[in-house]
């Protein structure tokens, strides 16, 4: 079984590390960490992820801007993106079906189990 490739983009190195450890502990994922929004596109082109976890608020480049760059890439534009946000509350992500502007949102702090369930959901149909 080939491992699913996940690119985790967040300026918090601690968080990307925890995401990697939790996802890799399942044995089903291969995770690459990226702590700079500005490098996210480059990393994605290089890594060719099946799914991108993207922090909304990063000091060097907003998550939405990164997402816009990805949309313009002929290959990456179809890659699913799951946003991680500290500002949107859990109730809001739940009541809007976790979709804002066509993207899936997860509110921090997110439990590993929820994150994995969300990723599986996004990749399920592919």
């Amino acid at each position: 079984m080939t491992k699913r490739r996940i690119l985790a983009v967040d300026d918090e190195a601690g968080l990307t590390r925890m995401i990697r450890l939790n996802l890799e502990a399942t044995g089903r994922f291969e995770v690459r960490e990226e702590n700079f929004g500005a490098h996210a596109l480059e990393a994605a082109r290089d890594f060719r992820p099946d799914l991108i976890l993207l922090d909304v608020m990063m000091p060097d480049m907003e998550g939405s801007e990164v997402a816009a760059q990805l949309k313009e890439d002929p290959v990456l534009k179809t890659t699913p993106v799951v946003f991680l946000t500290a500002i949107v509350t859990r109730e809001e992500t739940a009541s809007t079906g976790s979709e804002i502007g066509g993207h899936t949102f997860l509110a921090k702090p997110v439990k590993a189990a929820e994150l994995i369930a969300c990723i599986d959901g996004e990749l399920g149909g592919r």
């Binding site: 918090e12 601690g14 968080l15 925890m18 995401i19 450890l21 939790n22 502990a25 608020m57 991680l84 500290a86 500002i87 509350t89 859990r90 109730e91 009541s95 509110a107 921090k108 702090p109 997110v110 439990k111 590993a112 189990a113 994150l115």
Partner: protein
């Protein structure tokens, strides 16, 4: 001297000049009298017989008649009786001329209305003195009666010009006088009123019933009668009522009450003005309250705004570390497989701590955000049942009994069910914390038509008006209550009466925000007779929400 020309002597100055009529069949007597009186001043007329005297008197209306008693044909007594019998000549003063010294004749003469006697033969001085005196008396009488007439006319004029209605009643309460204003206000004719009993009048309604009328009659006409004032309504023939103020004063004669004067004034215009004034005053009061409320809300909103800015910043800074801790715990849990390991408990406690910190941040964000309720028709009673189910364990644990009094049938209205559940659980948990142990939680719902009093007292005038229908949810506890001084602040963010670490101070702020999203209102006060708090939530009813 011959037959004197009688009527020819009539001059134009009859008003100013007095007239004396001399009546005697004896020409010599007439001449003596005439000469005696000629220079006195008054016009002097003479008649030789009773019949002639009467015709002259009718024409000239003399002030004084010197009248011989013994005359052929009509004698002096008869002439006197005739003069006194006719209105035109009745006021003439009659002095009999008599040779008779008989007291009986004099008595008879006085009985017929004579004022004096002059004895024959005439003493010039005596005649002059008596005539002068009686002319003077006569003039004074005339002046007096003229003055009386003038006075009466003036008084009548005053009474008739009064704007107030005026009734005079006799000692029995019968109307003996009504002025034109009284007729105008009552809409009745004089003959409808005069002779009627004022206190039995069916057109007069006074404060109080029949006994009130008796009291009034007694107060005005009874032994201890004194002036008094009343309010009442005058019923006009068409049925229209005119509000009146009336005042009555008894009048006494010889120490007894002989009647009363009652004046009344049409005050309907003043009353209307009073009502308009009151309406305007109420409207002013209401807008003042609304203004004050709006001001409170503005202050609150300003607080919330600053909280909101703070919250967004804090959320970002705190949630990232929380996310790391959470996922760290998750990672460690996978490694800690054996259930008996104390490490499992450590991780569970840490996870709880993360959840708690997250709740605080979430509360802050909820509070700071302009949120919209996503409402759909739902049964409030059901939501209450469900929420109570969630705190049942807490109630049992703290030995709190539950008493519900929910409106029969569904209490359906537009609700954002998850948010209302949040509100209810928050309020129930507040009650549990306030009671501590052993107590009663009472929950009721009912549909109420709001009165102005309730709207004012509850301070919900910015959302509801008098006459609006509201679905009212009441939650009371038997806890410690809230110090009066702190009541005003309970809806402030971060205000809490709970011990440190027990509450975020956000519950009631969020609660109110949610209720207001539903276009409802919340009121919190200490119970009046027992300790504890009563929270009242006013929600729109489903039908009022449609409009």
């Amino acid at each position: 001297m011959g037959e004197p020309a009688v009527a020819a002597t009539v001059t134009d100055d009859t008003q100013a000049r007095q007239t004396v009529l001399l009546v005697d069949d004896n020409a010599t007597n007439l001449q003596v009298l005439y000469q005696t009186l000629r220079d006195l001043g008054p016009r002097v007329l003479i008649a030789r017989s009773g019949e002639s005297a009467l015709s002259i008197a009718r024409e000239t209306v003399p002030d004084l008649v010197l009248l011989d008693i013994m005359m052929p044909g009509m004698d002096g007594y008869e002439v006197c009786r005739s003069l006194k019998g006719e209105p035109a000549t009745r006021d003439a003063a009659v002095i009999f001329l008599s040779a008779l010294g008989d007291t009986g004749d004099k008595v008879r003469g006085f009985g017929l209305g004579a004022v004096d006697f002059i004895s024959k033969p005439f003493q010039g001085e005596e005649v002059l003195a008596r005539v002068r005196t009686h002319l003077k008396i006569r003039r004074l009488e005339r002046d007096l009666s003229a003055r009386n007439r003038r006075l009466e006319a003036q008084q009548r004029h005053i009474l008739e010009s009064m704007g107030e209605g005026l009734f005079g009643v006799d000692g029995g309460g019968t109307i003996i006088y009504a002025n034109p204003a009284a007729l105008r206000i009552t809409g009745r004719e004089l003959e409808d009123l005069e002779g009627a009993d004022l206190f039995d009048a069916d057109w007069l309604e006074t404060s109080g019933d029949e006994s009130g009328r008796c009291l009034m009659r007694d107060a005005i006409l009874g032994e201890s009668a004194r002036p008094c004032e009343h309010e009442g309504v005058v019923r006009r023939p068409g049925g229209a009522g005119i509000e009146v103020d009336f005042s009555a004063a008894p009048f006494h004669l010889d120490g007894a009450v002989r009647g009363a004067v009652m004046t009344f004034r049409d005050v309907s215009r003043r009353k209307r003005a009073e009502i308009e004034l009151k309406t305007a005053h109420d409207a002013l009061l209401k807008s003042h309250m609304e203004l004050r409320h709006a001001q409170d809300r503005l202050v609150q909103a300003a607080k919330l705004e600053s909280v909101g800015r703070l919250a967004a910043g804090v959320a970002h800074e705190v949630k990232n570390p929380l996310a790391i801790i959470q996922m760290g715990i998750d990672y460690l849990k996978v490694a800690q497989r054996s259930p008996g390991d104390p490490g499992s408990q450590v991780l569970a406690d840490m996870e709880d701590a993360v959840a708690r910190a997250d709740r605080v941040i979430r509360g802050l964000l909820n509070l700071s955000r302009e949120q919209v309720a996503r409402t759909a028709p739902a049964d409030l009673n059901e939501v209450i049942d469900k929420s109570l189910g969630m705190v049942r364990h807490e109630l049992t644990q703290h030995n709190i009994s539950l008493d519900t009094d929910l409106q029969p049938g569904p209490a359906t209205t537009l609700l954002d069910v998850p948010k209302i559940e949040q509100v209810l659980i928050n309020l129930f948990m507040n009650a549990v914390h306030a009671i501590g142990r052993d107590g009663l939680l009472h929950v009721s719902t009912r549909t109420v038509d709001l009165t102005e009093e309730v709207v004012y007292e509850a301070g919900i005038g910015n959302v509801f008006g008098a006459g609006d229908r509201a679905l009212v949810l009441e939650i009371t506890d038997t806890g410690t209550g809230i110090p009066e001084a702190e009541l005003e602040r309970v809806f402030d963010p971060f205000f809490t009466t709970k011990p440190v670490g027990k509450g975020t101070g956000l519950g009631l702020s969020v609660t109110r925000t949610i209720i207001e999203m539903h276009r409802g209102a919340i009121e919190l006060r200490n119970r009046s007779r027992q300790t504890g708090v009563r929270v009242t939530i006013y929600l729109q009813t489903h039908e009022s929400d449609k409009t």
